[in-house]
């Protein structure tokens, strides 16, 4: 176990033939990332590790997905909960590309508006936010114009 924790990256990267490895996910947000990317609904081989030691994050999580490659637009959706996530694109056991996530300017259909009186919490309306701060994520609701920030962020 201690060997795995010291060298999680090598282990995870070498473990799949083709696919995507998402590293540097804050451990507490692993399941949110799974939910946002819909990994709970696909039939590909997926493994994940969590509560791995990380100098930067304290505890981090890592996900390995075989045979799946994400569009930038899709992967940026996880920026809300894993802003430091790094992606390794694996082909034939080799890392062929590394990517970082970027917080997009608008967030559509991922987060819930914190305002209980917002129309999006009453009717079937896709939530839409303008990102007013990318560092400490702060979202302005397109409908009620209230701010939802990192502390009260809920993923739909």
């Amino acid at each position: 176990m201690s060997r795995i924790m010291k060298e999680p990256k090598q282990l995870s990267v070498s473990a799949i033939e083709n696919g995507t490895v998402i590293d540097h996910i804050p451990a507490k947000n692993l399941f949110k990332v799974i939910q946002i990317l819909g990994l709970d609904r696909i039939d590909k081989q997926i493994t994940f590790g969590t509560n791995l030691e990380s100098k930067k994050l304290g505890k981090k999580a890592i996900i390995k997905i075989s045979g799946v490659f994400f569009e930038d637009e899709d992967i940026n959706r996880i920026a809300l909960v894993a802003p430091d996530a790094k992606l390794n694109i694996i082909r034939d056991y080799e890392v062929v590309e590394k990517k970082v996530v970027e917080v997009p300017d608008t967030i559509v259909g991922i987060a819930r508006c914190v305002n209980p009186k917002c129309i999006t919490n009453f009717e079937t309306v896709t939530t839409r936010f303008r990102v007013v701060s990318k560092k400490n994520v702060s979202l302005k609701c397109h409908y009620c114009e209230k701010i939802t920030n990192q502390e009260n962020l809920q993923i739909i």
């Binding site: 009186k117 917002c118 999006t120 009453f122 009717e123 079937t124 397109h142 409908y143 114009e145």
Partner: protein, 309 residues
């Protein structure tokens, strides 16, 4: 300038921020024309739906007055309990149905963001007549009209806002709008109802000056506009706190002695006791004229959104 009006045709008015400064000024100019000549047949054969999901006196009646004076017809309801909403109909379905019956929808709804949502569904323009605590842009436009009319300008004015500055949507919208014309702001309120930080930060980012006061004293001698609001009992978590402040933020005639000759007192109404009735006969009291200006301003908004003027 005419082009900017044309651009607005078939657009909705949900938030004051939807309008450019040029568009705001066009609406105020048009309102001034309606003040001179309020009865015109510009909305002949037009049907306007007024959907008031919660009660309103001034806003609904002034809209309906504006429509009637322009020769338009009104359909709608002023109480959601007599509409299909009481049967559980969604706002989505109500709007999709009603937009078949009219050329424009005026809507007040208690849910925040409902007006933006309605404007996205509707095939006809939607005017937000208040969506919960969020926006009420036609009130802001009539406030701007009243300020410009009484001061002959919107530039460089000293605006005093008094009362509930925390929850009052009218003060927030007016503050944001007036920040376009280099206003200085003075906020007078009890501690519990101070202007929220996000709005003060907005002014700081705009490089505008503001001052906060808890005492309602002769500092008002510097004011060009005093904008009074109601301090509501239900806003206080501690009823004792309300009892302490309820009679402090009351404007009385004797307080107006040293105020500037051009100063005017505005209030979005309804008033309870925050402006003593002895102020009503003072020439600086402007709140009832302000309510009248609501008709001209709404005439201008309706014609602008329908592309008629």
């Amino acid at each position: 300038m005419i082009n900017s009006t044309r651009l607005m045709k078939n657009k909705s008015l949900v938030s004051i921020d939807d309008l450019s400064t040029d568009e705001i000024l066009r609406i105020l100019d048009l309102a001034a024309e309606f003040e001179i000549n309020p009865v015109q047949n510009l909305l002949d054969k037009k049907v306007i739906a007024t959907l008031f999901f919660e009660p309103s006196t001034r806003t609904r009646l002034s809209f309906e007055s504006a429509i009637n004076r322009l020769g338009g017809r009104v359909v709608g309801f002023s109480d959601a309990s007599i509409s299909s909403v009481s049967k559980g109909e969604t706002l989505n379905d109500t709007i999709r149905t009603v937009n078949n019956y009219c050329d424009l929808i005026v809507m007040r709804h208690p849910i925040e963001g409902s007006a933006r949502y309605a404007s996205e569904i509707s095939t006809v323009p939607v005017i937000n007549a208040g969506d919960g605590a969020n926006q009420h842009p036609t009130q802001t436009l009539l406030d701007l009209y009243s300020i410009r009319k009484t001061q002959d300008t919107l530039e460089n004015l000293n605006i005093f806002m008094v009362g509930d500055l925390k929850y009052g949507r009218t003060v927030h919208s007016l503050m944001m709008a007036m920040s376009r014309w280099n206003a200085t702001f003075n906020f007078i309120s009890p501690e519990e109802l101070k202007m929220p930080d996000e709005f003060k930060l907005y002014l700081e980012n705009m490089g505008l000056k503001y001052y906060e006061h808890s005492d309602f004293t002769d500092i008002i001698s510097r004011a060009d506009i005093i904008y009074m609001t109601r301090v509501q009992r239900e806003r206080f978590s501690d009823p004792m706190e309300y009892e302490k402040v309820k009679n402090i933020y009351v404007l009385r005639d004797e307080m107006l002695k040293n105020t500037k000759p051009n100063m005017r007192i505005l209030h979005p109404l309804p008033r309870v006791n925050e402006i003593h009735i002895n102020v009503d006969s003072n020439s600086k009291a402007y709140y009832f004229e302000q309510a009248l200006n609501g008709v001209y301003t709404r005439q201008a908004i309706l014609c602008t959104l329908l592309g008629i003027r």
